[in-house]
């Protein structure tokens, strides 16, 4: 138990180390290693791993850093995430990173890629676009080209070429990573008291800042621990939290939801590492093709993906049912167009399926949770009463 608590404490520290000490030490330990920072949400980290690199998730400064310079870069009506990231960049938190990737999720992140270019942060700054056409001969080729450009950027820095074996090996490691994460979610679905949502959060977020092999080991230890009884079951309702895929809610907010009587049985806080559903083929002669196929056919539902033909509202309802959830909490960052513009439709689908829901908005550095606690508490009570 003591050991497990130490593991959790270490994950907590790694997850919120805004200087990315572990990743930097990893890089410095050997020549030709690369650090590539990527923003939420999904990015095929396998391609970095395959060229002796580590893809590190930059999930924002949260409530762990005072924002002074960042505010001078953004108007009040723009979400908080990019200002925290600019603050980190200007404060040298991101030194040692060789390059940065800005996955296409919204225009704030898109324009932030240009700001990094202007501020000359990193040796490359890539806005990583995703096809919204899912035909392999159209969108598939586009996606492949995006990956190849990145590989080229990295080659220009450390001269390491991607090999079929190398990329397949990386794919295997990340397949394992996703499987272990899903095992944790499955276990928590059955025994949510064994690992709190906050603990789960530390464990997953830490995985964005350490090599995947190391994270897999952490996940295995966690699974071993929670395969046995831990904690006490409570009379809580079960909820899915939706809408926090980019700017991250402060830990206090996740805690408040839990403390007000809700088990969070699924969420989209760390959507990137859980993006691909199932395994990517890891034994082909064309691993780029395998990654492409996985993106086109195995992506989860998300505000970043055009969903006609496979509406995300229905998929959220399916998820809530699969997780046996009593309700959905819509929890999006203020001024987050992608999450907030999806919300009415998602709510409508929940209504149609008879799934109760509430919603609130946050900033990553929100410090007051009283109202949220009350709201979530009332939600939990009403479901219990109604049930």
């Amino acid at each position: 138990m003591k050991q497990f608590n130490e593991l959790l404490a270490s994950c907590n520290e790694t997850a919120f180390d805004l200087r990315f000490t572990k990743a930097k030490n990893w890089k410095l330990a050997e020549k030709n290693r690369l650090l590539v920072g990527f923003l939420p949400i999904y990015f095929p980290r396998e391609i970095v791993c395959a060229v002796n690199g580590l893809a590190v998730g930059i999930m924002g400064a949260g409530d762990r850093k005072q924002i002074i310079k960042g505010d001078a870069f953004y108007q009040s009506y723009i979400c908080h995430l990019p200002r925290g990231i600019i603050e980190m960049a200007l404060d040298d938190n991101l030194n040692h990173f060789d390059g940065f990737v800005f996955p296409a999720i919204c225009d704030c992140v898109r324009n932030l890629s240009g700001m990094f270019k202007i501020l000359k942060k990193g040796k490359f700054q890539r806005y990583f676009d995703y096809p919204q056409n899912f035909d392999p001969s159209i969108g598939g080729i586009f996606y492949r080209t995006e990956m190849e450009r990145m590989v080229n950027d990295m080659f220009n820095i450390n001269g390491v070429k991607v090999t079929v074996e190398g990329l397949n090996k990386a794919i295997k490691l990340y397949n394992r990573n996703r499987k272990l994460i899903e095992t944790i979610y499955d276990l928590r679905q059955e025994f949510p008291w064994r690992l709190s949502a906050v603990e789960t959060y530390y464990i997953l977020r830490a995985g964005l800042a350490i090599p995947v092999e190391e994270h897999n080991k952490v996940l295995e230890d966690v699974i071993e621990e929670i395969s046995n009884e831990r904690g006490e079951p409570m009379d809580n309702i079960r909820v899915v939290v939706s809408g926090s895929f980019c700017e991250q809610p402060p830990i206090g907010l996740i805690k408040s939801i839990e403390m007000s009587g809700c088990y969070i049985v699924d969420d989209d806080f760390m959507l990137g590492p859980r993006w691909i559903q199932g395994d990517v083929a890891s034994d082909t002669d064309d691993p780029f093709g395998a990654l492409t196929k996985a993106y086109l056919n195995q992506s989860t539902f998300s505000s970043a993906v055009y969903d006609v033909g496979n509406p995300k509202g229905k998929r959220l309802v399916e998820l809530a049912k699969r997780r046996n959830a009593d309700g959905v909490i819509f929890c999006a960052a203020s001024f987050c167009d992608p999450a907030l513009l999806d919300r009415p439709e998602l709510q409508k689908e929940c209504d149609a399926a008879g799934i109760p829901h509430i919603n609130f908005q946050f900033h990553e550095n929100t410090g007051q949770f009283k109202v949220i606690k009350e709201q979530a508490g009332t939600f939990s009570d009403s479901i219990k009463l109604w049930a």
Binding site: Q75, R110, F142, P338, L340, L341
Partner: protein, 433 residues
């Protein structure tokens, strides 16, 4: 005899007014006329392609801005908020949704027809995609075509990007248009339309560049948004658009020869005191009041980025009749909000120098992350590169709650005072102004 000034002022305006009235009337009768209707967006639009199929385009942003100008947007936005849209999101989307919830009545008071095709070409703005997902749910079962336009991340348009877009057009968009219209694409007809586009585009560039004159005969922002209308919406590629731009160009030539300054709703400016470059869209709910603050102070906008949301013709882009799909693709990728931030800064710097501006102003729009995220860095960079007085104001496109007249007026007055003082100092130092 008619007052020549009024005659000059009126003709192109009358043509445009007539064009719009006919367009909305035709739309209101679309179903009776058996015409198919395509909902699509302004930036990077495929107007020629739509018209080549004899379909009628509807641009939700235009409806939103018209609602703003007609003071309807406030209540539309509130209606959208009532059904769950957050206060925080783009108000164009909410205004459009609110308008649909209220019967989808267009600017002329006639009802707009439902779409037969939703054509999503989301150039330069991620929110367009969300907007369309919402429209798709309002019109279930309607055919949908998506044209994903890659961003100019690297500051250029690559061959791979062009081929990605052409493939989407050939294999997805055009077949869907053929299905909806019941017609095969006539490439000759499309090319003829693109020839017309080029004619109008050439004239448009001359019109924009007329603002290099000192004093400028036009205001490139407040009047510019009217001037750009036909080219950016339902008329590019038509004879009437060429006629409109020919007329407008002639009028401007006439103004130059007479030494006249830009016209405004109350007449014309008597003295050009400040030449400004503006970044960002205008506010529509209080458009006239907003404009008046400028012309009352003798401030003329000589170049603006907003008038480039429909394409950067002044930087050389032209549609190519002999390469229709390639050039439509390049067109989509070349619009202003699809440029990366360094390109946007370079463009603004170029405008400041080429158009001999005294100042650079940003109208930052609460709704629009595509424009607004990064503007404060743009401002800093421009200040450093051009040693020019920069100003910053905030408003919204169509949400009247975010237009504070007193606040904006105060800020602008201080800004103009600063410009005035700089002029005096420069004159004292013998710098030509």
């Amino acid at each position: 005899m008619a007052n020549p000034k009024e005659a000059i002022k009126e003709k192109s305006m009358v043509i445009q007014k007539d064009m719009l009235a006919k367009q909305f009337h035709e739309l209101s009768k679309a179903k009776e006329l058996g015409k198919k209707v395509v909902y699509t967006f302004v930036p990077g639009n495929l107007t020629e392609l739509i018209l080549a199929f004899d379909m009628l385009p509807v641009y939700p942003e235009i409806n939103a801005l018209q609602s703003g100008m007609r003071k309807r947007s406030g209540s539309y936005i509130k209606d959208a908020e009532k059904i769950g849209f957050s206060e925080d999101v783009c108000t164009y989307v909410k205004c459009d949704i609110g308008m649909m919830l209220n019967g989808n009545v267009g600017p002329t008071g006639e009802k707009l027809p439902d779409p037969d095709l939703l054509l999503l070409s989301y150039t330069g703005c991620f929110t367009f995609m969300k907007w369309f997902e919402n429209l798709e749910r309002l019109y279930p079962g309607v055919e949908i075509a998506m044209l994903h336009t890659p961003y100019q991340e690297d500051g250029r348009i690559t061959e791979e990007q062009i081929s990605y877009m052409v493939k989407q057009l050939k294999e997805d968009v055009i077949p869907k248009m053929e299905k909806v219209s019941g017609k095969k694409l006539d490439y000759d007809r499309l090319s003829k339309m693109l020839e017309n586009s080029v004619k109008a585009e050439n004239l448009w560039v001359k019109i924009l560049e007329s603002a290099k004159n000192k004093p400028s005969p036009i205001d490139s922002y407040f009047a510019g948004v009217y001037y750009m209308g036909p080219l950016n919406t339902a008329f590019r590629g038509t004879d009437i658009a060429v006629e409109y731009y020919t007329e407008l160009y002639n009028e401007i030539q006439e103004r130059i020869s007479q030494g006249l300054l830009p016209i405004n709703p109350e007449g014309e400016i008597k003295e050009e005191r400040f030449r400004l470059v503006i970044e960002g869209p205008p506010n529509w709910t209080n458009f006239r009041e907003f404009w008046k603050i400028f012309y009352d102070m003798g401030a003329v906008i000589v170049a603006s980025t907003y008038t480039k949301v429909g394409g950067l013709y002044d930087h050389g882009f032209r549609h190519e009749p002999d390469k229709p799909l390639e050039s439509l693709s390049k067109y989509c990728m070349g619009c202003y909000t699809n440029l990366n931030l360094p390109q946007r800064i370079d463009l603004i710097e170029h405008y400041i120098k080429e158009y001999s501006a005294d100042g650079f102003l940003i109208n930052s729009i609460k709704s629009c992350n595509s424009f607004s995220a990064g503007q404060l860095l743009i401002m800093r960079e421009i200040e450093q590169r051009c040693s020019i007085a920069v100003g910053f104001i905030e408003s919204d496109l169509v949400d009247p709650r975010y237009f504070s007249y007193a606040n904006i007026k105060n800020r602008l007055e201080s800004y103009f005072q600063m410009l005035e003082q700089r002029k005096i100092i420069m004159q004292q130092e013998g710098v030509p102004v």
